[in-house]
């Protein structure tokens, strides 16, 4: 399983790609694998404001419901409507086509993991 180098990650397995004042947010392939059969993605409303660490939605599988935590504070500009109708597609390309939300970022996110740190985190997770 590989994770893009230009993303930053949370310990709760969200990723963020920051480009200027804007960012794209999703969940990692590792998270998708742990969740199993995904049946629903609860999306935030466009225009909603969040602080870093706020819960902005949920991903639901047949096993569990997982909260989505904001990797950065900001306002939702766009949500991936395709996931609304076909949540099971998330597994196909979680780092690319099936991002969850796009944000305008108000302040730079703090205390996130870079790619090597996240890989290490995932490896440790597997031992538990």
């Amino acid at each position: 399983m590989s994770f893009p180098k230009d993303f930053l990650y949370t310990k709760e397995h969200e990723w963020i790609k920051v480009e200027g004042g804007k960012a794209t947010v999703g969940i990692t392939a590792h998270a998708v694998e742990m969740l199993g059969d995904i049946v629903h993605v609860e999306m935030p409303k466009v225009g909603a404001k969040f602080k870093q660490g706020d819960s902005f939605g949920t991903v639901e599988s047949t096993k569990t419901v997982s909260d989505l935590y904001m990797p950065a504070g900001g306002t939702v500009l766009e949500i991936n409507t395709e996931l609304k109708n076909a949540p099971e597609k998330l597994v196909e390309d979680p780092h690319g086509k099936f991002w969850i939300a796009k944000l305008s970022v108000e302040e730079a996110p703090k205390n996130l993991l870079d790619q090597p740190a996240y890989e290490k985190h995932v490896a440790e997770d597997a031992h538990h």
């Binding site: 059969d37 049946v39 629903h40 639901e60 047949t62 949540p87 099971e88």
Partner: protein, 490 residues
């Protein structure tokens, strides 16, 4: 496949569509009485509020209704067929006499607002059951208003919240071990509390130092199950009670496992402040496929003023419903609780008497330990300690060959029996939790043992179950498509 063939029958299993598909205009399932008073034009009476768009209930004959539900019933497994060894759920035999009494005209026709003179007998039963449960539990008083274990749990916690208010305090933390049930945090949240998890010792019980270390000023309660969900007795329980009392905090016992200790030890004697039980577990009222239950709550003297109203009390030589309790939390349900369920439990206690109740617990313990002795060289026993009424195995010994917990459980269905509780408690990886109860005879216990042995020795990891009316059911599809009612346009 000696035992599989022995265990599975090929009953008459007929396919049956929904009743909506059988519906034919004009068909009747019963006769409506003739109107012996002047008819009223409902449309004129109600004007705009009159319903023109009739609900699409089915139109079918009585025969079709009876056949329909009889056929559906044949697709269910039940205690009436055999062992139902769900750990922690206590699926025991449901005596028929209890059912007959509960469905008698005397019980069925009683209206909750009947004049007091007519309901003396009902209040006597509620009072009698309350008194019996007080004795069995050793508690100061008992409320019968809650309709299920979770409802009782909420009621108990709401009383603690009310106690805190009465002392002008607002402690919000409840300690609970990692063996606890998911309802604990959910009920705590509904009563405005939050759960802090503490860790069970290697020996499967909780230790006083763990509790002491977690006792901050915000802790109002420790919530444990005793015997715990691993089937062990929390032997340090009295010390927990002392630690909590010193801070005017509470010891909450989830009484889900009372079946193991009746007449042997009483929660009130080991310092319990609140305990909720399930009449459908220990006291044999039928589960009915998910309810109705009844969740009596026993309390210590500190919490008596906060019990829900009304209370059945004796006033001279008659019973009354007493509403005048200034510190009560109020009602948790309309009327007086699931009375029909109480009646069944009442008859059960009358039938067994003191000695019988003790024999229930002793035989539940013996049967569980028999299964442990017979299966401990077949399945792994991850925690060694003195087991009471239930045993936890896991798949450590069989997983290598591909027989994990889920596979073993699903394969048991092919042997014509219900699987044990799986993957609970969470502190044991891939747990298989077996509770046979005292109502299984030796032949039935051996049927279970032989099935498990054959499953393990065969090493068959193919699809399971296959000898069933429906094979592996697609739960992901159900959750994605959400077809939650019949589609009349299909």
């Amino acid at each position: 496949m000696e035992f599989m063939n022995k265990s599975t029958s090929n009953g008459v299993l007929l396919e049956e569509p929904t009743l909506f598909e059988r519906s034919r205009p004009g068909a009747r399932g019963t006769s409506i009485p003739t109107c012996d008073v002047p008819k009223i034009n409902a449309s004129a009476k109600f004007g705009n509020a009159f319903r023109k768009n009739t609900a699409r209930l089915p139109e079918v004959s009585e025969t079709e209704v009876v056949r329909h539900f009889s056929r559906l019933s044949t697709w269910n497994y039940a205690v009436d067929f055999g062992i139902f060894p769900l750990g922690s759920c206590t699926m025991k035999y449901n005596p028929r006499h209890n059912e007959e009494i509960a469905r008698s005209g005397e019980i069925s026709n009683a209206h909750p607002y009947d004049p007091e003179e007519w309901t003396q007998g009902h209040m006597a039963i509620i009072h009698d059951l309350t008194e019996d449960l007080k004795k069995i539990l050793g508690m100061e008083d008992v409320s019968l208003q809650a309709c299920a274990g979770a409802h009782g749990e909420y009621t108990g916690l709401a009383m603690i919240a009310a106690y805190e208010r009465s002392k002008n305090r607002n402690r919000r933390t409840i300690l609970a071990p990692d063996t606890s049930h998911g309802t604990n945090p959910a009920s705590a949240a509904m009563a405005g509390f939050r759960i802090q998890q503490i860790v069970t010792g290697e020996d499967g019980v909780l230790h006083p130092d763990t509790v002491r270390a977690a006792m901050t000023d915000d802790v109002v309660c420790l919530m444990i199950t005793n015997p715990n969900t691993i089937g062990f007795f929390e032997k340090n329980v009295k010390e927990f009670a002392e630690i909590l009392r010193a801070k005017d905090a509470f010891l909450y016992i989830d009484g889900a496992n009372l079946n193991a200790i009746m007449g042997i030890v009483r929660p009130g004697d080991f310092g319990c402040d609140v305990i909720q039980l399930n009449l459908h577990k220990t006291f044999s009222t039928p589960h009915g496929g998910g309810g109705p239950g009844s969740g009596p709550v026993g309390v210590s003297s500190r919490l008596v003023p906060f019990l829900p109203i009304p209370r059945v009390e004796k006033a001279g030589n008659k019973f009354v419903m007493q509403y005048n309790k200034p510190q009560t939390i109020g009602r948790v349900k309309a009327f007086f609780g699931n009375y029909g369920v109480m009646v069944r439990a009442w008859a059960y206690i009358k039938s067994l008497g003191s000695e019988g109740l003790r024999a229930v617990s002793e035989n539940a313990i013996i049967n569980a330990n028999y299964l442990k002795a017979k299966l401990s060289n077949v399945l792994a026993v991850p925690l060694q300690n003195a087991n009471l009424h239930e045993i936890i195995f896991n798949d450590n010994a069989t997983k290598v060959g591909g027989l994990d917990t889920t596979k073993i459980a699903k394969r048991l269905i092919d042997y014509g029996m219900h699987p044990p509780t799986m993957h609970f408690p969470l502190c044991v990886k891939n747990a298989i939790m077996v509770e046979p109860t005292e109502t299984e005879d030796r032949t039935e216990l051996d049927r279970f043992v032989n099935a498990v042995k054959e499953i393990v020795s065969s090493g068959d990891t193919g699809a399971a179950p296959v000898r069933v009316f429906r094979e592996k059911i697609d739960e992901a599809k159900a959750a994605r498509e959400l077809k939650l009612k019949y589609n009349f346009n299909r």
